[in-house]
Symmetry: C2
DNA sequence: TACTAGTTGCAACATTGTTGCATTACTAAA
DNA sequence: TTTAGTAATGCAACAATGTTGCAACTAGTA
């Protein structure tokens, strides 16, 4: 039900005190409806049929949504950001899986024990970034 | 002793059946002498005083050295590849540490148990990519 | 020494993301 | 409802990183 996603998007944007603009709603709606983390380019493609949205605006909206913690960025070995909505389960730190065949990215729940890492003396832990690579169910 | 590094670089290149060219030797020498993983741009800077080496050649040499497994690439959240030599300790999978202040990157030894990851049904594990972020001893 | 395939340098291009600035439009207040 | 102020947008130009095609060069070999 895309309409539900749109309503949720509007609510979330309003809740964090931002202006409810068409671009923000469209982009967050797309991300809410999406199971996996998708790229700027993939979002652009999903916006195609409808009235166009500027590339730069898309970048800025994604940055804004990330700042407001409505979504999060995933870095990957192809040097492209991917974006995924936050929810109660994955607003904290979590791992990602990337398919080495089709490049799809999903979020995983678990993380290794953060304090397990024996860093060199004098180094200070902040956070962990973990990507598991392999084949997704489609590509096996 | 930079001369030792140069000798080692020549030996390693010859060992894997490649032509021993000035560019390859210079670049691998730099990487052997370096504690941390460094970027294309940082390598370029270290080549400055001496006779110049083309940007594209540098990219191609780094790719070649990676293919031959003499060095490995590290992906990072700034979307820039960093390169570090392989040795017995880290030619296998290992984790990386990145300083969130000065962006320096080093290699860590340990990895979490690879099979611990409960992937969705039908997904197949291949490898793991882990970056611990925090402050290095210089920046604490 | 001469040959040849592998390597390099150069120019042009591709992709992803950023900045500056004038215009538009969301929201709150009148 | 209208208005005004500011946040958001669109456009053009730019920046950083990496890639491709091709002619010229050179390391290794016969």
């Amino acid at each position: 039900m895309p309409n539900t996603f749109k309503t949720a998007a509007e609510r979330r944007i309003r809740q964090c005190g931002g202006r409810v603009t068409a671009g923000r709603v469209r982009i967050l709606t797309i991300l809410l409806a999406e199971q996996q983390a998708i790229t700027h380019r993939e979002i652009e493609r999903r916006l195609l049929g409808k009235l166009p949205l500027d590339r730069v605006t898309l970048y800025r909206v994604l940055e804004w949504l990330t700042d407001k913690q409505l979504i999060h960025k995933v870095v990957s070995d192809d040097r492209v950001w991917r974006f995924h909505t936050n929810n109660e389960l994955n607003s904290h730190q979590h791992a990602h899986f990337k398919c080495t065949s089709c490049a799809s990215v999903i979020c995983l729940d678990e993380l290794p024990n953060e304090r397990d890492w024996s860093l060199p003396i004098g180094y200070q832990f902040q956070e962990i970034e973990l990507t598991v690579k392999g084949l997704c169910a489609e590509c096996v």
